[in-house]
């Protein structure tokens, strides 16, 4: 949670600095941002390759176990696509925002770098909101919804920020489901976002 606040703090600080143009012209350039983005992707890749999570996912690959993150993915995409009916954004643009699954830092940066600063901002706010809404609703949702549905609300945050709330409300038995759900979604975020960005 602290890390999330720091990240949001930097974004807000950036907005305030941008409004008052505190930095000399040419300091925040596209090239610098792309360089940073590539460094970020490299760091994420190194984390994926050197960690044990990749192997754990591959080992636990069974169609029935994968059905759960898959259902969250399909449902998220259907929900996001439905928004295109009322919003000015295209279906692909809505899908790119939804494909963040609450992974706001990566999805927003990728979309912004694809040339859509406005949509990147929407992605940032939307994915932060998904995490926040899930965090607030989980304790109430357990009374009405089955365990899987409660977990799916939180997208790929179910093994870190929303994990403590989930296991406290659902019980420790659900820890494994939360972790597998988040692991699979987490890995898929950069690929889905990049995939949808390629359509606009």
């Amino acid at each position: 949670m602290k890390a999330s606040l720091i990240i949001v703090g930097f974004f807000v600080l950036g907005i305030v600095s941008g409004v008052f143009h505190v930095l000399p012209e040419g300091w925040v350039t596209d090239e610098a941002c792309i360089g940073l983005l590539l460094a970020l992707m490299l760091a994420i890749g190194i984390g994926m390759g050197s960690g044990d999570r990749l192997r754990a996912i591959l080992r636990s690959l069974s169609p029935r176990l994968l059905l759960f993150p898959l259902a969250t993915t399909v449902g998220t995409f259907l929900g996001a696509a439905a928004c295109a009916l009322v919003l000015t954004w295209s279906v692909w643009q809505c899908l790119a925002v939804g494909a963040g699954f609450a992974y706001y830092s990566l999805s927003s940066v990728l979309i912004s770098q694809a040339g859509h600063l406005e949509l990147g901002t929407v992605a940032l706010i939307s994915n932060i909101l998904r995490e926040a809404i899930a965090l607030v609703l989980i304790p109430f949702a357990v009374k009405f919804l089955p365990g899987h549905a409660v977990i799916s609300m939180a997208g790929c945050t179910t093994m870190d920020t929303t994990f403590p709330v989930l296991v406290r409300t659902l019980g420790m038995d659900w820890a494994f489901v939360c972790i597998l759900h988040a692991m699979v979604l987490d890995f898929s975020v950069p690929f889905w976002v990049a995939f949808y960005c390629s359509f606009f």
């Binding site: 890390a3 999330s4 990240i7 930097f10 974004f11 907005i15 941008g18 941002c33 590539l38 460094a39 970020l40 992707m41 760091a43 994420i44 890749g45 190194i46 390759g49 050197s50 044990d52 999570r53 636990s60 029935r64 176990l65 059905l67 259902a71 969250t72 449902g75 998220t76 995409f77 259907l78 929900g79 996001a80 928004c83 919003l87 939804g98 830092s105 990728l110 912004s112 770098q113 600063l117 406005e118 901002t121 929407v122 992605a123 940032l124 706010i125 998904r130 365990g147 899987h148 549905a149 609300m153 093994m159 870190d160 403590p164 494994f176 692991m183 987490d186 950069p190 690929f191 990049a194």
Partner: protein, 135 residues
């Protein structure tokens, strides 16, 4: 988009090959500063764009709609196929052991993205500053 995705694959290869070097730790340590710098830059460009700033309330509403719709969508879809999903009550068919193993390994790591938030440190306190919480 081709370049960022290639960078991930290069990273995965580097991570696999240089697993036992200082590289994974360095990448982990650099993650947060890079994310902060990128979001600061994103905020800076957003703030400097008068039109975008004027639209910020609208963008916020759109974001709220998207967040709500994605949550409702996943809940509905999961409820729909709920009875096919393996649940702790019904007992898992395989995979649980592998995941429990991965979890204990993740907890054993000093830090790193994906470290479960409820891992107890040696001191017994819960580590909230672990980059696992970075989204």
């Amino acid at each position: 988009m081709f370049l960022p995705i290639s960078c991930i694959f290069i990273g995965i290869a580097l991570g696999l090959l240089l697993k036992r070097t200082a590289l994974p730790k360095l990448a982990d340590r650099l993650f947060m500063p890079i994310v902060c710098a990128l979001l600061f830059a994103m905020g800076y460009v957003t703030g400097g764009n008068a039109e975008l700033m004027a639209n910020l309330p609208t963008l916020g509403l759109q974001a709220l709609l998207l967040a709500g719709a994605t949550i409702v969508g996943s809940v509905l879809c999961v409820c729909l196929i709920g009875r096919f999903l393996p649940s702790p009550e019904g007992g898992f068919k395989g995979g649980a052991k592998a995941c429990a193993e991965a979890r204990s390994k993740a907890c054993a790591a000093p830090s790193g993205k994906g470290r479960p938030a409820d891992c107890d440190d040696a001191s017994g306190r819960k580590d909230e500053s672990a980059p696992g919480g970075i989204r």
